[in-house]
């Protein structure tokens, strides 16, 4: 029995190793590709300007917002900016454009490949142009943590990672809906991205809106919960872990549904 368990773990690690290897090769290829279009790096870096404008507005409004200091608001904006950069890096925009431009026949070709189609799609759409911006934001976060004497534990870092994973799984579910219902569902993605613009606003988690944006459209996992985890830690870190498990189950179900529906309709 014990040996069987070990065997399963060994197999899982082997599978993960395979995917890491595949993703690494995709990533290398993307860097080579984008090095020919250096302007993309400048474009991505320039999106720091709206981030700075947002901070400017928080500075103006800080005294009038009860319960939120400028530091709280800045951290909230920074956590949202980091997630937004990770979305860019992970090629989510590219995947949506891919769905927009290609018909289902191409998807059928893709499914025959030996790797998971979603991983394949994100692999070919990696956007290394956002790496300098990610480095900038991470350095800003580290500076912020040091300057404000925030004690960081492994639990809080893991909590932030899980919180981001919740949002990525949510986007994954949207992708599955698009696979299942074809191009008709693409506007859904653009609506979600539109709504994402409010992720860096100070929402009260205990309000009705806070509950809706945590359990139904998990937008608070994009910036609010990660920033709170850094300050307060434990409970929210545990909560984001539980939500990750829930979202993983939902993602797995929607992935199976999408593939079944796709195969039933035909390429």
């Amino acid at each position: 029995m014990k040996l069987k368990g070990l065997e399963i773990i060994r197999k899982s690690f082997k599978k993960i190793k395979k995917y890491v290897k595949v993703l690494a090769s995709f990533f290398r290829a993307s860097i080579i590709r984008y090095n020919n279009y250096k302007i993309e790096y400048i474009y991505s870096l320039s999106t720091i300007i709206p981030f700075l404008i947002t901070l400017f507005f928080w500075k103006i409004l800080e005294d009038s917002i009860e319960g939120w200091s400028f530091n709280d608001l800045a951290l909230l904006t920074l956590m949202g900016a980091i997630l937004s950069t990770l979305i860019e890096l992970g090629g989510f925009w590219g995947v949506m454009l891919w769905f927009d431009r290609n018909d289902r026949g191409n998807l059928a070709l893709m499914i025959t490949k030996p790797i998971n189609p979603l991983i394949y799609l994100h692999g070919i759409n990696f956007f290394p142009g956002s790496i300098p911006k990610l480095i900038f934001y991470l350095m800003l976060l580290i500076t912020f943590i040091i300057q404000n004497n925030i004690s960081i534990s492994i639990l809080s870092v893991v909590g932030v990672v899980f919180s981001y994973i919740v949002f990525f799984l949510f986007l994954g579910i949207i992708e599955c809906i698009i696979i299942a219902f074809d191009k008709a569902a693409i506007p859904l993605f653009y609506t979600i991205i539109d709504i994402f613009k409010i992720a860096d606003k100070p929402i009260d988690l205990s309000s009705v809106l806070g509950v809706v944006l945590t359990f139904f459209v998990p937008l608070t996992f994009a910036a609010l919960i990660p920033s709170k985890i850094l300050y307060e830690g434990r409970e929210l870190a545990l909560f984001s872990f539980i939500m990750t498990v829930v979202m993983l189950i939902m993602f797995s179900l929607s992935y199976r549904f999408a593939m079944k529906r796709f195969e039933a309709v035909g390429g």
Binding site: Y37, I39, E40, I42, Y43, S44, S46, T47, I49, P50, I53, T54, F56, F57, I60, L61, S64, I65, E66, W68, A184, P187, Y190, T191, D194, I195, K197, I198, K201, P202, I203, D204, S207, L209
Partner: protein, 243 residues
Amino acid sequence: MKYFESFLIGVKETLNFKLTLALHVVSPLIMVSLLSFIWGNIYDKDFLTYFVGVSLLLPSFTFYSSSSTKFMLAIRNGWEVSFAKPINLFLFISSYNLGRHFIPYLINLTIAFSYLLLNGVEINLAVLGFSLPFIVLFDTSMAYFISLFAHYFYSIWGVRVIIKLIDVLLSGLAFPFNLINLKETGIYYLPFAHKVYYIFEASIKGVLPVDSYLILLAYSLFLVLIALPFHKLGWKKFEAQGG
């Protein structure tokens, strides 16, 4: 007349894609409700009138983002050079895009107008209507400016996206501008607030926002004057090298 034809093509195309049309209508409504809830929670005040006003009365009419993409494709494919000369391609694309945004704008305008009227906020339609050509002029100039990059770079998505993001922040769509002193912060001297927030305010007061018109005109002229020599240079380069 020929530009009115392209306007009609845009209108017909929008009516053909009903889901996209629904998205154009539903998406701003979701945003308006969420933003009003959030700012309402923060300040314990009603922000629905403000966000309905700034988000639905005017922004769905702004179209420089989609126009600049089409201008870019036209430049890259050399369509202006090969296009039938009696038609100005930039005007042709602008009127087509105007057509594409017209129906969603009418729907949003009706929703906003009804809501505001029900809540006792009267909108002066004459002021609003008189302001629209200034917004169209600014948007077309902006699209013309953004598309100049297509002569020199393979992709211009970055310029478009950055300007759009800045526009959302500085026009009063994300932060309630009625809480901020715009002159003190310098936002007043930029064009973005003048094509949304100030026109909404003027429509309520029933006064023509002459300052906003002048600022929009000045910026439109500025953008065209900057872009014109670069476009001319770009076309010379294109004609010298071939498509």
